[in-house]
């Protein structure tokens, strides 16, 4: 982003945090990766991308051949935006670099939600060549179809630096599906994605993220969402494919009265996959609400499933539900639900459970004529089924389809 008018303080702050390890997750040596040197050509018609690339993107929920059910598309390969287009009024989708040229005010949103010096990963994004998507729904505008965005890693052993800005203006409604994927099935790489969400008064955003990495990729998303009065943020995260190391702790701040945040995560970790994933919500204004639900399955990998709710205002309510299933002989699930209340008149609760499939449940289904495998599959499917309140039926169906597509690998 050459034209970015970042103040010198940004660079200074980033420089100071250049070697700062993150609080959680393995400390990754950034010197093991290169900054991508390859520039990818702009694709006017994304359906012209290679069939294999399109198939990988489809695995992450990105439809390029038949985008009729999408209001806009953004594609980025490594650090180059290769396509962005909008099919519907009321929503703007473009590369952040371009949005900065268009809107002077955009710099006000930079590093406003995510702290630039959070750790070396956020610092790296600021200090190196980066781009990302700018998605904005205009005041009062409601999009029916979701915006789709894909962050694709093409070059091996490279760092993908992404900085996304999402703004839902007052009273607007915005649905986003974002898919992340890699071209190679076995080459290492590092994805760092900074995402800053601004949900203004009475706006509603649903954000569905599907990750489709490979077993050598390390991933460090850094996401913070600020929700104003009466705003709603609904985040669904799906990771069912192998990845080497993924650590993220997306955070939402309910800064306006009656703001609502829901996080749903479905995590599956096979052998060699290490996940440290959580969701964190600060209820900073009266009557704000949150619900955090996670389902974790290990078939041999390690999962740390975190959750944190902090109540800082009167009459806030939060619930955290964290359930883990260990299939197979090995694998670890470490569930860490945390609640912090800082005043009277708040209502926070959590439940956590980690275990194997109960024999009794399998036998119950078998007594109805299902084979042992069918019964186990039905129970796992049920475990992964999270009924997401507030998600449009179309997105719900797509999410269900994505879960079902990956179920076979779990069994």
């Amino acid at each position: 982003m050459s034209k970015i008018k970042t103040s010198k303080t940004f660079k200074d702050k980033a420089k100071a945090a250049e070697n700062k390890a993150a609080t959680y997750g393995d400390d990754i040596d950034l010197n093991n990766y290169v900054n991508p040197d390859e520039k990818h050509p702009y694709q006017k018609d994304p359906s012209q991308l290679a069939a294999q690339t399109k198939e990988i993107m489809l695995g992450a929920g990105i439809m390029l051949d038949d985008p009729g059910q999408r209001s806009a598309t953004y594609l980025q390969m490594d650090n180059t935006p290769v396509h962005f287009s909008t099919r519907q009024d009321g929503v703007e989708v473009m590369a952040v670099s371009q949005a900065l040229e268009k809107y002077d005010w955009l710099t006000d949103y930079f590093w406003k939600a995510v702290a630039i010096d959070s750790d070396k990963y956020t610092a790296n994004v600021e200090l190196n060549n980066n781009d990302g998507y700018f998605i904005r729904s205009l005041p009062g505008q409601k999009t029916v179809y979701p915006v789709q965005a894909c962050l694709y890693m093409a070059q091996a052993k490279a760092i993908q630096n992404v900085h996304n800005i999402i703004i839902a203006e007052e009273g607007s409604e915005l649905h986003i599906i974002t898919g992340c994927a890699t071209g190679s099935r076995d080459e290492p790489g590092l994805h760092i994605g900074v995402s800053e969400f601004f949900i203004k008064k009475g706006a509603k955003v649903t954000f569905t993220m599907i990750h489709n990495w490979n077993p050598e990729i390390a991933v460090r998303p850094r996401t913070v969402t600020i929700v104003e009065e009466g705003g709603l943020f609904l985040s669904n995260y799906l990771l069912m494919k192998p990845v080497n190391s993924l650590q993220m702790y997306p955070t939402a701040r309910c800064n306006g009265k009656k703001a609502t945040v829901r996080y749903n995560s479905i995590l599956v970790a096979g052998k060699g996959t290490n996940l440290d994933v959580g969701s964190r919500v600060f209820l900073n204004a009266e009557n704000s609400r949150t619900e955090i639900i996670s389902r974790a399955i290990t078939t041999g990998g390690n999962i740390t499933a975190r959750g944190y709710i902090e109540g800082n205002a009167r009459d806030v309510k939060g619930h955290l539900e964290c359930r883990g299933l260990i299939l197979g002989e090995k694998g670890t699930i470490y569930a860490i639900p945390e609640l912090k209340g800082n005043l009277a008149g708040i209502d926070l609760s959590h439940e956590a459970a980690v275990g194997k499939i109960a024999e009794e449940e399998v036998e119950y289904l078998m007594a109805r004529g299902l084979t042992k495998d069918e019964a186990t599959a039905a129970i796992v499917r049920g475990f992964l089924r999270v009924d997401i309140e507030g998600l449009p039926p179309m997105l719900s169906a797509e999410l269900k389809k994505a879960v079902e597509a990956s179920e076979k690998e779990v069994m």
């Binding site: 359930r323 119950y364 078998m366 007594a367 299902l370 042992k372 019964a375 049920g382 475990f383």
Partner: protein, 251 residues
Amino acid sequence: MLRIKDLSVAVEGKEIIHDINLTIQTGETHVLFGPNGAGKSTLLMAIMGFPKYQVTKGSISFRDRDITGLSVDERARLGIGISFQRPPVVRGVKTRDMVSACLKGHGDRETIEKLAERADLQEFLERDINYGFSGGEIKRSELMQLLAQRPELTLLDEPESGVDLVNIALIGELMNDLLEKNCPIAERRCMGLIITHTGHILDYVNARTGYVMCDGTIGCVGDPHEMLATIREKGYNECIKCYLGRIPLHE
């Protein structure tokens, strides 16, 4: 026909039922009485084939086939169904999914909804199976699943326990349907084996043969209504005494 021959069953190495002989002819419904701990549920679970209930001696035949070595699901597919007394909650598995599984693809949405209507469980189809169900709702849900499954032999473990008077009539009605009690005797193919602790269900479902089980054996066989009258008047102790009197060598 169900034929149980010299059957002994152990749970976790301890023999619970000993040398049971029992035959249910096609179209018949039999009733098992007995005090707590007599081994009634163990017998039902062993007929259904749950692995925890190990047959140490004897055999179980169903439809002229020795099923002693078959798994639970094989027995279910052969035509044996069971109503659980305390079925587990299976989170994420909807009641609709269970009914659908019982129908084995032989029923559409409408079939499922009709069954739910009969069992007065329309509001429960989209709920996780057994999650937050009351006693009566569990019983009705079990019977609804069995009505979808249509087993030839139905095993019912205390279908009336925890059920209020309003529900018990409906439960009786569903059981009568399941056991083809509304068909002429000659046309009935379905069999039933019902455990009842209190006998209330006999006011709703007719049965001609009853057994009293004590200490893992069948003490006596007879008319269930007569048996129930005796049990109600004198309690199981009298049954046990009578039974012990007849078999002095019992340990």
